[in-house]
Symmetry: C2
Subunit: 413 residues, 2 copies
């Protein structure tokens, strides 16, 4: 048996990021840039006011104060989006709004809270009383202060969040070049499976894994394609598995254990390259990795919890690497066990658990329900996987254990 | 001026969760259940094997061991999905796969690792050597052990994650009843705005806020609808704002400060109910809340950073409450300042910052770039808002400050 880390490393070493595509700005959300974003303008594009107020000559208002206001002649009103028409000379000012271009002659802005309107309510042709001094360049944002035309504002490899989208829009990008979302084919296998809309007859259970996997693929940043259920015959299994090359990745569930009727392994050996492991983990020891016509292939065990844990440990990192992410590991935190846990020492255990913040600092963790459930209840109620190492068999309440945070994205501090 | 908390509370008190809708199972991902999910079956639906092995009568194998194997006659092979045809009598066994129904007569399963095949390789008509005892019910999952038909497996109000989707599929739900996603209208205002595809002329800047808001709405669980740019005229602004009732929520940016050309306020007073505040926060002090034809309305300031911070503090909780979530507050953690920070004492500051985990435990935090930027660079590079309270003006390096985690979902422990 190999360890989880060995298996993950072995898989990831064979995966490359997918090619790039050009998408509409907002559709780039959550994806990874494959090209840098370069500005086509200076930011700010012109000297402009950082405040609503009056554009003045700093020298004119050096002595201004509440009790010693300086009266200036008001030339014009410059709203945001307009262009100034007049040059501010000695003893003059122009009313100016936030973001509006500075008029020639003026070198500072006095904010509206520090003036008193004079004649004509401080409007054009009237006067304004300046009640505070202003240093040269005060409340003025200089042209190209932040970014010069041609400068890179977002790097290739960065994830596109909401702020990146705004930033890209500001510098002229209606589209972005990002890594393609991995297209993931999902196949469930087994004669015992019936559709969710059917009531299972004797010996049958519903196919839930296809839906769980579709959700997991979407959350990982991939595009799920449910291909359906392969019955336990060579023909049926071959028919679905041979479609792998239409996709970037194929994931099946069921049919890879040591059971007699598991044909996935046999078909894989026939039409692809098989790399079968037993990973030293529970749940989900038997895992298959391989390729079909060059498309990576995962055979996850059919038990719903094993499927989810296997996806989390092996498939999610692959989808993220294909999508261009470099953070491939969920955050791990230490938490104090709130009860004893026993396990067999032969392998790593991943217990579906719930971590909570303690008022006094740090975290505590407890299992989130029946661990041998055929249902995903514990997975649903939990927010982490408690990772209990190989070689040990007893963990007393109060012990610190490592928890893999399923409620946090990779790269979260 | 009112505090951020007062403003948030005032807004949220007027918001109700939206009505429910029925959606396909996988489309319910990330949404909130508006009805409980009830099982239409027993789980397990029948007594079944938890292992690949042999179904036996426990009494027959009580004395079995490696050196004292018990030889049993093998009746049949029961794969998953099949139904047993034979009753296991004394001295008999049937080969059984994980998940397959227990045959009548048998009351325990001996796993395949604890047997040796006898005649006919342990297949039907042959024999098997049992090398370990089994207690009654060992490796047998009992019918209805986990869930009885009619029992609730997911509660109304719970968020639908991947595990919930699998769970719902298992108990017969191809669709789920969830809260509707809020439809959010996005309007930017200002004569100075040009489209992202245009090169801004003198005095103009690009409309980036519409795109940032669309991304933020999507991340919050809403459905963004960009309505376009309202010019600074009554007619243009009225035309767009009067469309509010087509949506669940309207958000505008720009046009609500104290500037002379801000017509949003005037139009709102004319066609809706206006509730204008100055919130004691920076960035983003002037915020408008109100209703137009009963649709909640937010007027956020036009500066891109103020827009984002205003959205985060006021609009995101509203979208989440409408979508049915009960956790409306981002996680907050204490972090040690890695440099001095000065501020004015008059109001709360939200500094765009980057929090990192310290190897020795806990977190440290530093601002993520130029805080007065016209661009969203600091917001892009940061992962939190450092929240510095009213009434204080200096925070020395080493001080513990509260950080609002923008990289974590509400409700994360």
């Amino acid at each position: 048996m190999i360890t989880v880390e060995e298996a993950t490393e072995q898989v990831l070493s064979r995966i490359e990021p997918l090619p790039a595509e050009r998408v509409d700005l907002v559709d780039a959300l959550g994806r990874v840039l494959a090209e840098p974003v370069v500005s086509d303008i200076d930011v700010a594009p012109f000297d402009n006011s950082a405040m609503d107020g009056y554009a003045v000559r700093a020298a004119d208002v050096a002595g201004a104060g509440d009790d010693t206001p300086v009266t200036l002649e008001v030339l014009e009103h410059i709203p945001a989006g307009a262009w100034p028409g007049r040059t501010v000379g000695p003893g003059q000012a122009s009313r100016i709004m936030t973001g509006a271009p500075m008029p020639p002659g003026a070198d500072a802005v006095v904010m509206v809270e520090r003036i008193r309107p004079g004649e004509a309510a401080g409007g054009p042709g009237g006067t304004v009383l300046i009640c505070a001094p202003a240093a040269a360049r005060e409340n003025v944002r200089a042209r190209a202060e932040e970014v010069r035309e041609g400068e890179t504002v977002l790097l290739s490899g960065e994830t596109v969040g909401a702020a990146a989208i705004g930033l890209a829009a500001s510098v002229g990008h209606a589209e972005l070049v990002v890594r393609r979302r991995p297209r993931v084919a999902i196949v469930s296998t087994g004669d015992e499976l019936v559709d969710v809309t059917e009531k299972p007859g004797p010996g049958k259970i519903r196919n839930s894994n296809s839906y769980t996997l579709a959700a997991l693929v979407r959350l990982a940043g991939g595009e799920p394609h449910i291909l359906g259920v392969a019955r336990d015959t060579m023909d049926d299994t071959r028919a679905l598995l041979s479609r792998a090359s239409e996709f970037d990745l194929m994931v099946t569930t069921g049919g890879v254990s040591m059971g007699d009727f598991d044909v996935v392994k046999v078909v894989l050996e026939e039409i692809g390259e098989l790399d079968f492991w037993k990973v030293a983990m529970r749940p989900g020891a038997p895992q298959t990795f391989g390729t079909i016509d060059g498309t990576p292939f995962f055979g996850l065990p059919g038990n719903p919890t094993s499927t989810m844990v296997g996806f989390e440990m092996f498939v999610r990192p692959v989808i993220r690497k294909m999508a261009g992410f470099t953070s491939l590991v969920r955050p791990r935190v230490l938490a104090t066990l709130s009860h004893d846990v026993k396990k067999k020492p032969d392998r790593r255990y991943f217990l579906r658990s719930r971590i909570t913040r303690r008022p006094e600092g740090g975290y505590s963790v407890a299992i989130a329900g029946n661990q041998s459930s055929a249902l995903l209840t514990a997975m649903h109620r939990g927010n982490c996987l408690m990772s209990l190492p190989e070689g040990e068999s007893f963990f007393a309440a109060g012990t610190e254990v490592m928890c893999i945070r399923l409620d946090m994205e990779e790269g979260t501090a």
